[in-house]
C-alpha cells in the first residue's frame, strides 16, 4: 500500500475514534432532552464536576478545604492518602445521583411548563453554579486523573503497520491512541446497556413512554418526576464516563467543561431526540474534522479550523434536514 493510503486510513480511524468521545457527551444531552425537553447546557460542566469529584475522592481531598483554610487560617487538606479508583468511581456515581435528585428538587420542579428558552437559561445558571461549587470544593488547579486506563500510542500497531507500506518508502507505522480505543469499547458497552435497559426493564419502558409523550405517560400513572431524576442521574453517569475519558487525556481543568461546545454540532447533526443520531453524528463530525484539518487545513495553510468546522458541517446537513439526521420530524400546525 502507498503511504498516502495508509495515512488516509490512519486519519479515518483517528477521526472516528475522536468522534466517539464527542458522542459520549452528546449522549447525555439527548437523554435529557428526550425525557424532559430540557436543553441541558450544563452537560459539559457535569463532566467537569464528575471528574473533579472523582479525583477528589481518589486523593482523599477534604471538600472546601481551600475555603476553610482561607477563612479560619487552618491547614488541612487530605483525609486519607489515596483510594482505589473503583471505590472512587462508586462514590462519584452516588454523588451524581444525589446531584440529579437535587436538581430535580430545587430547579426543574419549579420550572415545569416554562418556555424552552427559560429552561435552557436555567441550565446555563446551573452550569455556573456547578463550575463555581466544583472549584470551591476541590480547588481550581489542574489535576491528573488516572483510573488505570492506558493511554498513549500503541506500539504493537506501529510495529505491525510499518511493514504494510510499499518497499523503499518512508513510513513509521500508524499512531493510534489506546485511550481512544478504550473510549470506543466503553461507549459501545454503554450504548448497548442503555438500549437493553430501555427495551427490557419496566423502568426503561416508563422512560420511553415519557420520552414519547409526557401527558400520555402521566395518565397511565408514570411519575414524571422520578423519571426525571432517573434520567438526570443517567446523564450524570454518562458525564462521568466522558469526564474520565477527557480528563485522562488532557487533565482535569476548567477547559473540560467546554466539551459541551464540541458536542453541540454533534447534537444538531444527529438530531436532538435520537440516541443513534448522537453516535453517528459524533462519528461524522469526528471524521470530518480530522479530514478537514489534515487535507483542507494543511492544503490552504490556515490551521486551527476545528473550532468552527464542525458547526459548518452540521449547518450544511441542517439545510437539507432541519431536524438533524435522525431527529423527529418537525410537524407544524397552525
Amino acid at each position: 500500500m502507498s503511504v498516502e493510503l495508509l495515512n488516509f486510513i490512519e486519519t479515518v480511524i483517528n477521526g472516528l475514534m475522536s468522534g466517539i468521545m464527542y458522542s459520549l457527551v452528546a449522549l447525555g444531552f439527548v437523554l435529557i432532552f428526550k425525557a424532559s425537553g430540557v436543553f441541558n447546557f450544563a452537560q459539559g460542566v457535569f463532566a467537569l464536576f464528575a471528574a473533579l469529584t472523582l479525583v477528589g475522592f481518589q486523593t482523599g481531598q477534604v471538600p472546601f478545604s481551600h475555603l476553610i483554610n482561607e477563612l479560619f487560617g487552618t491547614n488541612f487538606h487530605n483525609w486519607y492518602p489515596s483510594l482505589h479508583s473503583f471505590f472512587a468511581i462508586i462514590l462519584t456515581i452516588i454523588t451524581m445521583i444525589v446531584l440529579a435528585w437535587l436538581i430535580e428538587k430545587l430547579v426543574l420542579k419549579h420550572l415545569v411548563n416554562q418556555e424552552p428558552i427559560i429552561l435552557f437559561m436555567a441550565t446555563i445558571g446551573l452550569a455556573f453554579v456547578l463550575e463555581g461549587v466544583g472549584d470551591l470544593m476541590w480547588g481550581s488547579d489542574v489535576k491528573v486523573l488516572d483510573v488505570g486506563i492506558p493511554s498513549g500510542g500503541s506500539e504493537w500497531l506501529e510495529k505491525t503497520t510499518v511493514g504494510w507500506a510499499s518497499e523503499g518508502s518512508e513510513y513509521y507505522g500508524m499512531y493510534i491512541d489506546v485511550l481512544n480505543v478504550w473510549a470506543t469499547i466503553i461507549a459501545v458497552i454503554l450504548v448497548t446497556a442503555l438500549a437493553l435497559f430501555s427495551q427490557y426493564t419496566k423502568t426503561g419502558r416508563a422512560l420511553r413512554a415519557v420520552a414519547d409523550d409526557h401527558q400520555a405517560a402521566l395518565s397511565v400513572g408514570i411519575s414524571l418526576r422520578s423519571i426525571w431524576v432517573l434520567v438526570w442521574a443517567i446523564s450524570g453517569f454518562i458525564a462521568m464516563v466522558a469526564g474520565i475519558m477527557w480528563g485522562t487525556e488532557s487533565g482535569v481543568q476548567f477547559s473540560l467543561s467546554l466539551i459541551a461546545l464540541k458536542a453541540l454540532p454533534v447534537l444538531i447533526l444527529g438530531g436532538f431526540t435520537s440516541i443513534p443520531g448522537a453516535i453517528i453524528g459524533g462519528l461524522l463530525i469526528g471524521l470530518g474534522e480530522k479530514l478537514a484539518e489534515i487535507y483542507i487545513g494543511g492544503l490552504l495553510d490556515i490551521g486551527a479550523i476545528e473550532n468552527w468546522f464542525a458547526y459548518f458541517m452540521a449547518l450544511v446537513f441542517l439545510l437539507f434536514r432541519p431536524q438533524g439526521l435522525f431527529g423527529d420530524k418537525i410537524i407544524e400546525r397552525v
Partner: protein, 359 residues
C-alpha cells in the same frame, strides 16, 4: 396614588399611542434625561465612567439589539460576541482607511457593516428553527472569532494581534483614545443609546415590529396572514446586528481602547452575559434591556466589594464564589420571575396605583 391614571383623558390617537401614555412616566423620564445629560457629566469621574456608566450604556445597546432578535422576533442567538467583534474590527479598519472621518460616522458605518454580516448569518434561520438555530448561530460566533484571529489583514499585521484605537475628536474634544475626558466618552455613548433606543422603540411600535412579533408568536400563522418570513426574519437579523455592531464598536473604541479578539469577544465574555441581560431584564421589553444591563454590570461590582473588601477572601476564591452566586441568582430569578425585571416593574406600578391608600 403615585400611578393614578384617573383623569388623564386621551382625545387623539397620537396621545393614546405615545411611548409614555401616563404623565407620571413622562415626567420621570424627562427628569432622568435631564439628570443624565445635564447633571452627570459635571460629576462623572474616571471610576464611574469606566466601571459603571460606559459598560452599562454599551451593554444596554447590545441588549436592545439581541432583544429585537430574540425577544421580539423569537430567533434565539448565541452569536452576539461574534457580531460585536465585527463592529469593533469594522471600526478599526475604517479608522485606518479614512483617518479624517468623523467618529460618529465611523461608529454608524460599523453598525451598517455588521448589519450585512448579520443578514448573511441570518440566512439559515429561514430553514432552521428553535434550538437548532441557536446552535447554528454559534457557528457564526466561532467562525468570526477565528477569522479575526487568523487573517492578519484585520488587525493590520500587528505583532500582538491586538487592535488599538487612535484618537478621534468631536467638536474639538477627544472621545476615543487615552486622553478622552470622562464626560465626553459618556455623552458620546449616551447620545447614541438614547437616539437609537428611541429608534428601536418606534420600530417595535410600527409595522415592522408587529411583523416581528407575529413571526415570533407563530411563524406559519404569520406567513398565512401575509407576513413575509424571509423579509421579516432577515430584517430582524439586520437591525439587531446593527445595534450589536454599534455596541461592539463603542466597546472597542470608547471603552477598552485596545483589545484582542479571542478574550474580549469570547462566548462566555459577551454572548451569554448579553443573553442573561435580556432574560433577566425581560424578553421583548425595551425597559428590560436597560434593567438587565444595569443588573449585570452592577452585580459583579457589588459581589466583589462585599467579598474581597468586606469578608476578606482572596481574589481567586471570590471569583469562584462570584460564579456560584451568579448562577444561583440566575436560577432563582428564572424560578421566581421568568418574565424578568420589567415584569416586576409593571407589578410594582400596578401596586403603586393605589398605594398608600388601598381603598
Amino acid at each position: 396614588m403615585i400611578y393614578k391614571e384617573t383623569g388623564q383623558f386621551k382625545s387623539t390617537y397620537e396621545s393614546d399611542h405615545s411611548i409614555f401614555p401616563l404623565i407620571q412616566d413622562k415626567i420621570a423620564f424627562n427628569i432622568l434625561m435631564l439628570v443624565a445629560f445635564l447633571v452627570v457629566p459635571f460629576f462623572i469621574d474616571s471610576y464611574w465612567e469606566k466601571a459603571i456608566l460606559i459598560p452599562f450604556l454599551i451593554y444596554s445597546m447590545a441588549a436592545i439589539g439581541l432583544n429585537i432578535l430574540t425577544g421580539y422576533c423569537g430567533q434565539v442567538s448565541l452569536g452576539t460576541g461574534g457580531f460585536m467583534a465585527v463592529g469593533a474590527f469594522a471600526t478599526y479598519k475604517i479608522m485606518t482607511f479614512f483617518p479624517d472621518l468623523n467618529i460618529m460616522i465611523i461608529v454608524l458605518l460599523s453598525g451598517v457593516i455588521t448589519a450585512f454580516v448579520g443578514i448573511l448569518f441570518g440566512l439559515p434561520s429561514l430553514r432552521i428553527k428553535g434550538f437548532y438555530l441557536a446552535v447554528a448561530t454559534l457557528a457564526s460566533q466561532f467562525f468570526i472569532i477565528w477569522l479575526f484571529n487568523k487573517v492578519p489583514w484585520f488587525y493590520n499585521y500587528s505583532d500582538t494581534g491586538q487592535i488599538t484605537v487612535s484618537e478621534r475628536t468631536m467638536f474639538g474634544v477627544a472621545v476615543t483614545g487615552a486622553n478622552a475626558p470622562s464626560y465626553a466618552t459618556y455623552l458620546f455613548c449616551l447620545i447614541l443609546v438614547v437616539v437609537l433606543g428611541f429608534a428601536a422603540k418606534n420600530m417595535i411600535r410600527s409595522k415592522i415590529g408587529r411583523s416581528w412579533m407575529a413571526i415570533r408568536d407563530m411563524d406559519i400563522a404569520a406567513e398565512i396572514i401575509g407576513v413575509p418570513p424571509l423579509k421579516t426574519k432577515l430584517s430582524a437579523f439586520a437591525i439587531s446586528s446593527f445595534y450589536i455592531g454599534i455596541a461592539g464598536s463603542l466597546y472597542f473604541a470608547v471603552y477598552l481602547g485596545a483589545l484582542e479578539v479571542t478574550e474580549s469577544f469570547d462566548i462566555m465574555a459577551i454572548s451569554f452575559p448579553v443573553l442573561f441581560m435580556i432574560i433577566i431584564g425581560g424578553l421583548g421589553s425595551m425597559l428590560g434591556s436597560f434593567l438587565g444591563a444595569a443588573f449585570i454590570v452592577l452585580l459583579p461590582i457589588f459581589l466583589k466589594n462585599v467579598m474581597v473588601d468586606l469578608i476578606g477572601l482572596s481574589a481567586v476564591t471570590a471569583k469562584h464564589f462570584e460564579i456560584t452566586i451568579w448562577g444561583l441568582l440566575m436560577v432563582v430569578f428564572l424560578i421566581l420571575e421568568p418574565h424578568g425585571l420589567a415584569r416586576l416593574w409593571s407589578i410594582a406600578k400596578e401596586k403603586l396605583r393605589k398605594w398608600p391608600f388601598p381603598y
